[in-house]
């Protein structure tokens, strides 16, 4: 009986970890799906946002809980700068869309390096963490434990996904973004201002990192190089779910969270990672568009 409760706790924990994984990967998926950009620097922007939360709290006394109102706009702005400075020139100089997509990887690898080491230069390599009165506390009911902050992540993740969904389906700009991602030429013909929409989509992709970083800062300790530990996992989730497919990211993110939790408990974390990567490889080989992906 205790075993069962143990298992249930693990699954619940996995759901919560997974929801954070999903939100962290969301920006990556959006950017690829809408613009064909492989943003390997996404994790670094997440860490950067976590640092912003940290400094807002330590230097200005802002409660970490509301600091997303700072991180999201900053990341949005950063996204716009990057789009103008990197994406547009790259678009102009690559011969085909395929080439553009492939080249975004090294370009953003460079961006990741710059961001990562700038953080080291500015804020030293010291380890940081956000500790609040809620850290580690949990709701308990019998043998079921639900850590409060992780629940916050779950709620936050669903909120942001819901918000994005509404934005993309109900607002005019959102629909234009979707139109662009489906067919760039047709979108132009229909009169959509492609440059403006691209700018906005890219910025949105980066500002999800702002929100993810905010959630992230409550759970994990971080240092400038922390992103390196996250990139393989995020990639895995995106590819397995389907490159550019948001539903896929959500489902697979949560699934991998549960796998990490359950397999990490019954076997080891190392094994859980291998499982995750092999799943990705199998998906790539036998269903390259991803489990939920449409059209190759």
């Amino acid at each position: 009986m205790k075993e069962l409760f143990s298992f249930v706790n693990l699954v619940i924990n996995g759901l919560m970890i997974g929801s954070l994984y999903s939100v962290m990967t969301l920006g990556l998926t959006l950017l690829f799906g809408v613009m064909g950009v492989i943003n390997v620097a996404q994790a670094d922007f997440i860490i950067l946002s976590a640092y912003i939360v940290y400094w807002m709290s330590h230097s200005y006394g802002m409660s970490p809980f509301i600091s997303f109102i700072v991180t999201v706009p900053i990341m949005f702005g950063m996204g716009m700068l990057l789009e103008k400075g990197l994406i547009e020139p790259l678009q102009m100089r690559t011969r085909s869309h395929g080439e553009f997509v492939r080249m975004t990887l090294p370009v953003f690898f460079g961006v990741a390096m710059v961001v990562r080491h700038s953080m080291t230069a500015l804020w030293t390599g010291d380890y940081r963490a956000i500790t609040t009165h809620l850290t580690g506390k949990a709701f308990t009911s019998g043998l079921i434990r639900v850590p409060i902050l992780r629940l916050l992540c779950l709620v936050g993740s669903f909120a942001i996904v819901g918000l994005l969904y509404l934005y993309l389906t109900k607002t005019k700009t959102g629909k234009q973004i979707r139109a662009l991602s489906q067919n760039a030429v047709a979108a132009k013909i229909v009169g959509i201002n492609v440059e403006r929409i691209r700018l906005i989509s890219f910025a949105i992709g980066i500002c999800t990192a702002g929100f993810a970083g905010y959630l992230f800062s409550f759970i994990y300790t971080f240092f400038p190089g922390a992103a390196g530990e996250w990139v393989p996992l995020l990639f895995c989730i995106m590819v397995t779910g389907g490159l550019g497919c948001t539903e896929g990211t959500l489902v697979i993110g949560i699934l991998f969270g549960v796998v990490d939790s359950v397999v990490g408990y019954y076997v080891t974390m190392a094994f859980s990672r291998v499982l995750v990567f092999i799943t990705m490889l199998l998906v790539l080989l036998f269903r390259p568009r991803g489990i939920f992906g449409r059209g190759l």
Binding site: L10, G136, Y265, M269
Partner: protein
Amino acid sequence: MSESFSGKDMLTILLIVVTLISSAGTLFYVTSLSGKLMNVSDDLEGVSGNLQSVSESVLTLSETTVDIAEKVGAPSPELSALAERLEAFEEAMEEIRVEPKEYIVFGRSLAFTGKYTQPALMAHKGWELWIKLVNENGGIYVKEYGKKLKVKCIYYDDESDPTTAAELYRKLIEVDKVDLLVGPYASAVNYAVQSIAESYGYMLPITEGTSTELYERGMRYSFMCGPGGVATYYSYPFMEWVGNLPEEDRPSKVAVLAEDTAFPISVYEGVIAQSEEFGFEVVHKELYPKGTTDYVPMVSAAKDAGADLLMCGTYFPDAAGIVRAAKEVDFNPKAILCTVGPTLPEWGSELGADGDWIFSSSDWDPGAPTFGNAEMISKMREEYGIDPDYHTARDYACGQIMEAAIMAQGTLDNDELLDYILQTSFDTVIGKLSLGDVGGLTHIAWPPGYVIVQWQEGEVEVVIPSEVATADPAYPTPSWDERS
């Protein structure tokens, strides 16, 4: 349809390739040449300085001789002898080989970026502190050069990467031509550097590397430069203490978690061996990969296996992750010990009350009346505004050892210094260091000396052994519920 190149194309390409190769070659020569030029100009300055003083002495001498000759009137046998001597002296002066050395040059690479930055920087500060203090006193007297030489150190960033460090140490030896080396941070990085030092015949004092792997290789030139001992001993004083507790207080089931890299693996192996020695059952053990982010699953597993003692081979992020995970799953063993993490000052500042009651190992006891300890602590506070930790202390101790050895042997020769260090026992801020070959390991600190510390209400206290303790160990540690 092969690619058609005209002769012109070929020549142009050849030209470009040759130009590029030569410019690259020039680039390297320039970087090494600039180093050489600096040395040469330093040398020249020294030479001219020395020549000046020598010629001044000769001038005074010849003036005196002339005075004497005038006073005496006629050359006496003594004066002729003196005159001959002077001539010989002048000839000898022509051949004088002047040693224009001003500095003892150390070389090392440290993790200024990458995963190991934080502890590496603490070590760096300790080393720099020693250099500062030594130079304030005018330097170290080296008999071979007949004067006091100041100390300086060339640093490179090895990015916490072993292979980068290996290349950098090669450069330090070959291009920068340092006199002496100091080891980098982390066992894994020292690993790669050892063979470089060995093949060039340079001593490698390893201040930040305690994994047994480093000392199983039989490297003549590597030695442990910290009296703590190998990593397997980190947990020993603690395990010994809990092992000797009365039956009702003793834990019986141990869980061991460690990162899958050199140093934590040694700690892990040590805990397992000690569990057997003191009669504990290891109910859960796990080595987690370096990039692990979530510790809840493994901590849950430890909890559900019934462990009442949690021992961890960690650095900082994983130690913090494990402790937080323990709070989240309400895991309340009688004690938790984590290496490295809880010895850094940010353990308290970043984790707050959650960091309390955690044990850790340190080979440095801040309160101990060891040689230079108080001075180091006050100087550290003055220069950097923070207290030293054991990394700082180790590197400072290394400086003390170097100073003692150089003064005793009167030379900067690596072999002579090494022989002296291997046979001598030194007084340092971390206590007495003496090296020995034990149990298949060479040149380790023996006997080992670790103290166990514990965070108590935001302060680090030394708790074991009781002779040097500043507070009693709080054991069993309060449960998470009790703390709030």
